[in-house]
């Protein structure tokens, strides 16, 4: 039975034809680009930069009157951490640290 099949020219032709591989020729890339939610490399840096900018402006606007971020860092450098400016600078540094931790966790 197997020999009969092996000797059948149509059987052989079909087997040979089915073994012939079709070259990819960009097909896999075409599928990758069509996948839903395909990665957009520009999206994450843009989101991070935009949210950092919004956060900085919000921190600046919401800081107690008369405080300055620069003054805050100067106060911290002089080990005066209880001034309103220093507290604003600490809050901003903490927010940035949290962002960094989240980004590193996501990367891993």
């Amino acid at each position: 039975m197997m020999n009969e099949q092996a000797n059948d020219p149509i059987e052989r032709l079909l087997r040979e034809d089915s073994r012939r591989a079709i070259p990819d020729q960009g097909f896999s890339v075409r599928v990758a680009l069509a996948l839903p939610g395909a990665p957009r490399p520009w999206l994450r840096p843009t989101l991070v930069a935009a949210s950092a900018a919004i956060g900085s402006v919000a921190a600046w606007l919401l800081a107690p009157a008369g405080t300055s971020l620069l003054q805050g860092f100067l106060d911290l450098a002089r080990l005066q951490s209880q001034t309103p400016s220093a507290l604003t600078a600490i809050a901003l540094a903490l927010a940035m640290a949290v962002t960094a931790v989240v980004l590193v966790a996501e990367e891993n």
Binding site: D8, I10, E11, L13, S18, R20, I22, F27
Partner: protein, 182 residues
Amino acid sequence: MAERPEPADAELVHAVVARDDRGAFALLVRRHQSMVRSVLRRLAKGDHGLADDLAQETFLLAWRNLASFRHDARFSTWLYRIAFNAWLSEARKRREVLLDDPGEAPVTELADPKLPDPARLDLERAVASLPDGERAAIAACYYADLTHEEAAKALGIPLGTVKTHILRAKARLRARLGEEKP
């Protein structure tokens, strides 16, 4: 240093489902694109453009439904079923498709005098000239490398019909390709 062996389909499927790993999915596409595209080329009667569109749709459906793959069949068999259903749905949009009718016309009546010299017809064109059911059976059993049982299950037709389709298809191909012994 020994090269790391290629990961098995099951590992790649797990990577896609667990980690949304697009690299693993790309490897699955590269590994199976030839089978899927050649099956669809046969089903689409040699229309390579349509076959590639359906092949893309097949892989997109596979991506969306990968979590439902139960590993009770080979990944290639699962993929074949999606490809076949994609073709069936496309074919039904155009006309009715008959898969389980073994056909009444005797094979000896198939030699069409209007056809060019049968010896000059290549296999792809000869397969394209087969009725839908026979073409689907040939695509499943040869190009997707399914057993007759797997093909019957995938095509949703009885095992006996698959065997009849294969026998008739081979007889028709023999006649079309001019290899039938007198």
